[in-house]
Amino acid sequence: MSDQEHHIPDFWKEVVDAETIERCLTRISYEIVEKDRDLQKLALVGIRTGGEFIAQRIHQKIQEIENREVPFGVIDITLYRDDLSDSLEQPTLKGTDLPFSLSGHRIVLVDDVLYTGRTVRAALDAIIDFGRPALVELAVLADRGHRELPIRPDYVGKNLPTHKDDFVRVRLREGGYTDGIYLIQAHDAKKG
């Protein structure tokens, strides 16, 4: 990966730093574990692409806390989106990988940023196509508000007050960055 890709533009304002992200994820992991001591049915599912690495980290932490294997998968929700026809970009699939049966599991769905709720709606549809989970919960690193659907997270890392036209970007070490959540204000976004 080139240095260019690691570069964060100056007008991106860091709103959550690496240390805070780490602490948020640790807290979420404990909350997931504490909510239900019967962890035998727990499984984590990350939403591609933003939720994948967040889910991996939570998954790892939970396995360390509990000292046992927890099923893990990722889903691609491209085929379930409700805005396919509006998009001028050609959609690219990254693929779904669920190496276990969802039926009967307590699924914690994981994404990086919760915004309109449409991605989560699509993910729920996708999940249900794979079986009948006993329970589905939602964990997000950041909730920036402005929901367009009746969807509410069960575990939240940070609540971020934003304007609807702002952009929120999560950059992680798995992508070659220092962990951080950035706010790009609408009037700055035009810069690129």
Binding site: D76, T78, L79, Y80, L84, S85, D86, S87, L88, E89, Q90, P91, T92, L93, K94, G95, T96, D97, D125, A126, D129, F130, G131
Partner: protein, 324 residues
Amino acid sequence: MNVDSVRFQHLLGIEGLSREDLIFLLENSQQFVEVSQRDLKKVPALRGKTIINLFLEPSTRTRASFEIAGKRLSADTINISGSGTSVSKGETLLDTARTLQAMNPDILVVRHRSSGAAHFLSQELTRTAVVNAGDGMHEHPTQALLDCLTLCQHFELAPSELKGKNITIVGDIRHSRVARSNIWAHQLLGNKVTLVGPATLVPHEFADEEAFGGGVRICHTLREGVEGADVVMVLRIQLERQSDNFIPTLEEYTRQYCVTPQVLEGAAPGCVVLHPGPANRGIEISSTLYEGTQSLVEKQVTNGVAVRMATLFLLGSRGRKENV
């Protein structure tokens, strides 16, 4: 990575695609394999879209494959064949296509005996994406895609890594759209193509610069042609063309060009066999080989659905042309 939306308004052939386009299509196709392995083999991606399969030439697997692909994407698919329709009453292809377009389908999948039929329709129809499912002796792009995808899976290579392989295509190259699409595809990927068959069925023009950039080797002896081959693709001898005197007799063709396990002893270790089907067992390929461990024919059929899902998804999931 997002591909320029204008790039895939239609899929008419492999010729004219860039290497990036081809790899993009193959990578996407690979992701659709998983959908067909689910218990619930259906995703809502093309809900509310209409796909017309206009097959004016006999076809079982391609038509079934496109229909299943459309249905697994939740599109409404209808099939129209030549017999029992207004085509058999003498309606021209263009009139048929315009009539169908007036019903606002999103995608028209066309198979036609005339080379260029799909191109022609893509220019005449302004609101419908056209997929070429085989036009005369010209191209059959989804077949080449499924062949390449099958090879990627078999050799466990990403599409961008499927290069440097020796691909030998045996049979009636002259009349084969499968061969033409595959030659284009393997040239883009960087594989070496050898064509094998009698001179009447493998015209020397195929090796010319004007044809495929001069990168194709021609060989009229089967054993020599398969030497060192990583992949042998056997084409169907089109029995319906037997009256055209391209080969003296079927028996003579079989004696010289039937691909058998013995013939493949000189091929590269781990050589695999492809056949687009339907096969004439005992004529162009021996039954033992067709059903043997070297044969990837069933994988080809399975992958056909994934490739067609990817194609239909890419063409059908965008806004209509006038919005672009």
